[in-house]
Symmetry: C2
Amino acid sequence: MKSKTLSNIAFRRHDHRRCQQFLLAEADQHCHSLNLRLTSRRRQVLEILLGSHQPMGAYDILAELNRVDRAERIAPPIVYRALDFLLQQGLIHRIESRNAFISCVQPGHQCAAQFLICRDCEQVAELETHEQELLAEADSLGFAVDHSIIEITGVCAQCQKDG
Amino acid sequence: MKSKTLSNIAFRRHDHRRCQQFLLAEADQHCHSLNLRLTSRRRQVLEILLGSHQPMGAYDILAELNRVDRAERIAPPIVYRALDFLLQQGLIHRIESRNAFISCVQPGHQCAAQFLICRDCEQVAELETHEQELLAEADSLGFAVDHSIIEITGVCAQCQKDG
DNA sequence: TTCATAATGTTATATTATAACGTAACCAAA
DNA sequence: TTTGGTTACGTTATAATATAACATTATGAA
Ligand SMILES: [Zn+2]
Ligand SMILES: [Zn+2]
Ligand SMILES: [Zn+2]
Ligand SMILES: [Zn+2]
């Protein structure tokens, strides 16, 4: 079960330096192969998110940008645009219930991203299981499920006819 | 399959007047049996949400309150507090990806609430199936799934030990 | 070069949510 | 029926998140 090896990475000890470099290289390759530009801004935002397996708010990222580059005064739209690009490419995910963003631990995965979010320590683990396996996996991690949200967005039958 | 009859109510024709009255009566009974107060403000907010099976933003609800009661000028905290109460009682749900609130079509249900959200017409259908049945049900509704989010909040093993 | 496009930068503002503190309603015990 | 504790409500101000609108710069092909 390949996914298992990556699934709980946020809760495991691992060589995060390597993890980071691997994911960054994957991102480079992904964009290159699709002839998309992982510009320095976009890469910079991705690197910030790859700094940990924790979610960050857009304004946290903004603050980090402004901390590093003392000269410039970056404004919100710059961050949101980079985040939009990275989201579209599946390189990061948005945690809806937290208004936060997190680097994907398995870019290119097909399943819907699934997260275990600790309301206490705020850690987030990305799982890569099928839905029916989810609760079992949460249980096997000793994670006490509190509240789960499933949101499926798409186009309803009516709109498919209309559109 | 009891849930099936209610699940896609937003996409079905039904006698919504009765639906509304039924759900309001359920809410009354729920609160009464738990010795909780479904005050007039809370009831008023619930009634507004029961006006349709569509999600509404907190500020939409606020506007509706201020439209009805021309005299007073209601402020956001009043709405958010009523929403918090209704959420806690499971009488409404929060659609995280929309920052919106929707009346629950089956208060007292045990499963996690699950939604189909149309990005086109913005309709939201609440399902009441097990996870593994979800995609099949979406498919049977002719709903083209686009993006699904599963967010499980709880307490991780570490925090359970610490706390 | 020249043009078209994509990406970035800038300013202002919209949208969503909460902090902090005061008042009123409710209810049980004295 | 007062008293005091609690819960809910009201009010003001502000925090946190996100986008609109428009100007500028970089990129790459014709
Ligand atoms: Zn790592
Ligand atoms: Zn992922
Ligand atoms: Zn109805
Ligand atoms: Zn529900």
